[in-house]
């Protein structure tokens, strides 16, 4: 249970994620998706209940220890200072570096790997405020990857991106999930992208879990209409055999 100030946004949520899962958290505005993510990543304090990473209760882990295992990609970080791409990704090494410690060859190697994985090696000397939003999002993901996480949280990573960049970023995440066994927990508002990419989905409604399971189990017109209070049609996507949600307008 947790929330902002005195208001409890998340009231009753219990679930488990396995290693290598690609979990999508969906739900209407105000259902508590971002709040849940923040509770899971030590950003917000947990009022009651507990969150465990592996065997460890996250409350018992120091923030730095936690960040060596779990990384977080926020929605759209607007950066006011002209750091170079390499400097930004190097910040991902902070959980592994003591304050006065200089970056070593190992750190540079991890940064280079992260840039390689996100296809941003060519941008390394460019300044962060010169990049397009798609490029910037990939750089932020590279920074998260430089932390060497086993778990990656993402809060609506594609909401500010055009369709080309959306696919680019999500394909990258799918590749990392499959090849590197990276567990991913992602809040996403686009139901069809969730269906396409996530192995499991959590549908939230007013701070509680309405339904959890595979896309086929969760994305039914009954569940969606019940939570989102809008009429939809759920068809079968001919390309991937997964549910495809069609929005139905109320106007004639």
């Amino acid at each position: 249970m947790g929330g902002y100030g005195k208001e409890m946004v998340i009231n009753d949520v219990t679930f488990q994620t396995g290693i290598g899962d690609f979990l999508g958290i969906i739900g209407p505005n105000g259902s508590g998706k971002s709040t849940l993510l923040k509770l899971m990543s030590k950003v917000l304090p947990i009022i009651s209940g507990s969150v465990s990473l592996g065997k460890d209760d996250i409350v018992k882990l120091s923030l730095k220890e936690f960040c060596r295992k779990a990384a977080f990609v926020s929605q759209d970080t607007l950066i006011n200072f002209s750091f170079s791409v390499e400097e930004i990704v190097m910040m991902g090494r902070i959980p592994h570096l003591k304050r006065l410690e200089q970056a070593t060859g190992k750190d540079f190697k991890k940064v280079a790997e992260a840039l390689e994985m996100t296809d941003t090696s060519g941008l390394r000397d460019k300044l962060i405020d010169e990049l397009s939003s798609g490029e910037r999002q990939r750089v932020i993901i590279a920074k998260a990857l430089a932390q060497e996480p086993t778990l990656l949280f993402l809060d609506e990573p594609t909401s500010h991106l055009d369709i080309g960049h959306q696919i680019q970023v999500l394909d990258l995440l799918k590749k990392l999930n499959r090849q590197n066994q990276l567990t991913i927990v992602m809040v996403i508002h686009d139901l069809n992208l969730a269906s396409e990419y996530c192995s499991r989905i959590l549908l939230l409604d007013q701070g509680k879990i309405f339904k959890q399971g595979t896309p086929q189990e969760v994305l039914t017109y009954q569940n969606i209409e019940s939570v989102y209070k809008t009429v939809v049609l759920v068809k079968n996507n001919p390309i991937n055999s997964k549910p495809y949600v069609v929005l139905v307008s109320g106007e004639k």
């Binding site: 990543s41 923030l63 200072f81 002209s82 750091f83 400097e87 959980p95």
Partner: protein, 320 residues
Amino acid sequence: MNKTFKYKLLILIGLLLAAFYYGLVNGSSKLTLSQLLLTENSHIFSLRLSRVIMSAISGMGLAVSGLALQAILRNPLAEPYLLGTSSGAGLGSVLAVVLGVSSIYLPLASFIGALLTIILVYNLARQSNKVGVQSLILSGVIASIAISGVIVFLISVSGNEALHGALWWLWGSMQIYDLWLLTVVSAVVILGIFAIYILAQDLNAISIGEEEAMHLGINTEKLKKTIFFITSLITAALVCACGIIGFVGLVIPHMMRFVVGPNHKVLIPTACLAAATFMIISDTLSRTLFSPIEVPIGVITAVIGAPLFIILLKRRTRVS
């Protein structure tokens, strides 16, 4: 550390040494370095040396406080006096004068005034144990305005004496007669700068976002409080010794970000060098331009600083 940075660093060190020389040699009477070292000129030498040192120290302290505040407040307009130190110090010294306290205690009075104001601003902005960045800025601005009103009121009802006593801090002066004060203030500033340098990594992280910094394992509340405390200490110490000097804490950080980038590990040392040079030159100009009349240093820094700031504003992109 790449080649271009080493090159820039050498240039800055060279400029600082040149400024030192310039500051020692020039004054109401121009003396060569060898002349200065003669015992008959020891009085002038020690006077000028203390001014040059005070200028360097105050420049470094203000610049580093400015850049640290800009990082944690993520606001390019942040500067050392934003959180109320200057007006608090002013109130302290004006009250002391009005109450007829001996002038030896003026620095102490302004230091206390500054610290009390900082505590007030901090508590106004605090919500349970967290300090919001917006609230901090707002509280600082409101406190400064309110206190300035009180100062003007006190000056207007007390007449000449209070006015004269208040003027020294309004525009700044590098003249320090009390060597003990100079030593204490220098120690506070240098220790403060080192402490901020140790936190360079944290400052880098928080400058890209408070939540971003938390995701990198940084305790942002503790960081904000620490930086707030150190910069307040540095600024209060400098205000009580030298008065208020504008622009240094605002312009030098921006200039240096333009030259070496926003990475605090290189920004802090280069800002120190540049600020020290800037202040020594400003102070020397202040006492040589209309010699024997001394133009308050705050006027010089404003006159040089304002156009520099406008140039910076026009050229927003960094040279990489």
